[in-house]
């Protein structure tokens, strides 16, 4: 009898309230640990930095893993000759100012000064400066196109174009508002709804300390370490060169083993990128055999971004390779903003540039062409690609064109990296977007 009673009790207890969670629960504090280099990436140029920044500065739209565009801060409307960007009602900065066309134009103006990805994304816009200027006092930001560009909506979701209303990265419009330097609190009026946790706490830790914190489950998300080799790796690094330094690139390439460069100096998740497009976008994963190591002479200056450990290590490796070839390479570290500014101002002979490519091959080729700094050439290449209406065919043409251009562009592809992050498996509803970045907005724990 007693056994029967116990059995009944167990049957009743099986679907316990503690596990019932078909809808998300609100509450709790989301704990993130980041490595110093992730913290240093103020503008979210790296995948890890972009994930962190998206908590307080959401993108205009979400490009999901299936390539579909979902509005976040703005809706995008196609017209006969362009795209109108209309801020959603309720998209407001932490100070309460609504996101209007003028605010968006100002934010993009700053992004254009800083980011080659932003310049590439808006390159198909006809007379961009005038389009941004005319936005003042209008409800919508109208982007007329210089040539057909079907991938525009997808590239407008790039984190580099996330609107930031002030001068600091914390002045964006996100699901959280900064509450001090290391804390954020959920924003109840965010157009996509408040995030489920009440707030987040950010801790900057050394790699060892961050790994320990993650393993002891005192942090939910670790940014800067770990990662999934099967996720798309779209953070691509290139060696760009001035015309006078093209010969040096040839010397370096003849001595370069991209595979061992990735293994020894970059680290997983990353892969060698022998073509202008990374393997994740259908670029080649095996390079053509280069000839015997050549020799040369002379000196050159290589600029790289400080605070990017992989870039520093790769720059030092290139210095050794070129020394063996008889060339003396001087390394010039810069902040990422200064690197972009100084390179465009004509400083340096060579530079390492890392960019988070959009997941559409034609748009990614647009970013590579932007790195060459030759706007006329970019337009000549991209206009015929944009005229191909079918997305699959356009991607195939872009891959083909990238193979042909590899020999002529002053851009040497090196490697592509994926997001370095670990997420507590007990977190629910964390997915990757089309850029391979974790979307932490929906996270909650049962």
């Amino acid at each position: 009898m007693r056994r029967i009673a116990l059995g009944l009790l167990l049957v009743g207890a099986v679907p316990s309230a503690a596990t019932a969670a078909a809808r998300a629960r609100d509450g709790g504090t989301f704990r993130l640990a980041v490595l110093p280099e992730v913290r240093a990436d103020r503008w979210g140029d790296t995948p890890e930095g972009a994930v962190l920044r998206s908590l307080v500065a959401a993108p205009l739209c979400r490009l999901d893993a299936g390539g579909r565009v979902q509005p976040v801060l703005a809706t995008l409307q196609r017209s006969a000759d362009g795209v109108s960007v209309v801020a959603r009602p309720g998209a407001r900065s932490p100070s309460g100012a609504p996101l209007g066309a003028a605010e968006l134009a100002r934010a993009w103006g700053r992004a254009l000064d800083r980011s080659p990805v932003a310049r590439a994304a808006l390159a198909p816009v006809r007379d961009l400066a005038a389009a941004l200027e005319q936005s003042r006092g209008r409800g919508a930001l109208v982007l007329p196109l210089a040539y057909p560009w079907p991938d525009l909506e997808a590239t407008l979701c790039h984190p580099a174009l996330s609107p930031v209303t002030g001068d600091g990265p914390g002045d964006g419009i996100g699901p959280y508002a900064l509450d001090g330097a290391d804390r954020g609190r959920a924003v109840p009026s965010f157009p996509e709804g408040r995030p489920h946790p009440d707030g987040f706490v950010l801790t900057t830790l050394s790699r060892r300390a961050a790994q320990r914190a993650f393993e002891s489950r005192t942090t939910h998300v670790l940014l800067g370490d770990g990662g999934d080799a099967s996720a798309s790796a779209l953070f691509a690094t290139y060696l760009v060169s001035r015309p006078a330094a093209r010969a040096l690139v040839g010397l370096a390439e003849s001595r370069l083993d991209r595979g061992s460069l990735v293994r020894s100096f970059v680290g997983a998740p990353a892969m060698a990128m022998p073509g202008l497009l990374p393997p994740a976008l259908g670029g080649p994963d095996r390079g053509t055999a280069s000839g015997a190591p050549a020799r040369g002479s002379g000196t050159a200056v290589l600029m790289y971004a400080t605070d990017r450990p992989a870039q520093r290590a790769v720059a030092q490796r290139l210095q050794i390779l070129l020394r063996d070839a008889g060339v003396q390479l001087t390394l010039a570290p810069r902040t990422p903003e200064a690197l972009d500014r100084d390179w465009r101002a004509g400083q340096g002979d060579l530079a390492l540039r890392s960019v988070l490519l959009p997941p559409a091959p034609a748009a990614a080729l647009g970013v590579v062409l932007e790195l060459t700094g030759d706007a006329a050439e970019a337009r000549r290449e991209l206009a015929p690609l944009g005229a191909v209406a079918d997305a699959g065919e356009r991607a195939a043409r872009a891959r083909e064109r990238a193979l042909q251009l590899a020999a002529t562009l002053p851009v040497l592809p090196l490697y592509s990296e994926g997001l370095r992050a670990r997420v507590d498996p007990s977190l629910v509803d964390v997915r990757r977007d089309g850029f391979g970045l974790w979307m932490l907005d929906d996270a909650w724990w049962p």
């Binding site: 099986v14 078909a22 959603r88 049962p446």
Partner: protein, 407 residues
Amino acid sequence: MSPGPAFVAALLAAAPAPPPALEAVADQLRTQVLAAHPEPPVAVAAQAPSAVLGETVATLLATRLSGSGLPSVVIGPGEDAVSRARAAGARSLVRLRLEVGTDVAAAGELRPVWRNFWAGRTPVETGPAAILSATAAVDRATQLLAAGSSQGTGLVLDAAPLARFPARTAALATGDLDGDGRPEVAVLSGGEVWVLDGTGTVVARHALLDLPLAAAPARESFGTLCISEGRLLVAWARAESAVALRLQGTQLVRGPGLPGPTLGCGEAAEPATFVPGAARLQLTRGPEREPLWGGDARPGHRLLLLPDGTARWVQPAGEVRLLRDVGAGAALVPWRGEMRVAASSAAAAPAEDRLRLLGTGPEEPTVPVPGRILQVCAGAPGPGPALLLGVWTADGGSELRVVRGLP
């Protein structure tokens, strides 16, 4: 009335050959077993959604193996399969687990059961094993076999989704919107209302993103839809106010506003409000004012989905039945002359959900559904009793799936 095993036996007798999907699975498994060179005789045990499906697959595989010169016997599945295999004189055991969704999947292992004299108390399960796995596209007969255990009121999931959406579905409704006497399907998803015909073709779309935003919008995709007197009443938890839409050709035209969301539709509808900032509803009349995951109302019946994973089913004459393990996707459904509750599970983020049909009797037909069931709605298009499900898929989008009662 209850076809049950007799029905399935009749189905097998009527079919001169087993379902092609099962034959394909058995052939794949046979090749893998033969490649592993097991010591004969081989015992085959298969665990499946229904006993008859398990027996069919085990018998098929044993027949195939015997035909290839490997003597085989069928034993029932269970924890003690090893000892029963040994008792049946077998030297090797194939243990399989079968699942039927959009594919028939079988996976398991092949291991020796012969106990080494020197093994002592060492469990035989630690011996070398070969992993077996096979899949094949599902067919209707296999689905029927899989549903065989549900004693005559089984459920079957249509193999293909009725439609796909880029974002999660927030609400579903079925009803006649264009006055042609046939029901349309209305879906709220990604800030848009979609109207589909019975074949899943989009008839009209209407964006709600221009509506004034609620002071505290809900993060989850959440709302209510109701088709009543040719109008589609839409309440979206991210908008400040509800709207009424009319279908005119391929256009959805806005009409005068509405008070707000409801549980159920029509005369029995229970008025409610959204809880600010959360995917929860609160009734605006009656004694029950706790936040709800959702619910339903039909004449004489009310279903309240509580956030602890239970549901309160208020039946005529005020009788209240407490249901356990009921997720947010649940509704009252008229089913073969009686009112039932179709319910998803309350588990957090399952990769595969299940739909149960609860009634007054002891039987609970169940069907596994890949993805997470977000909504359930009665009156799916097509013949016979059928349910429409909004299912969140692994890629972040969603699907409309149809679950039918066995004929």
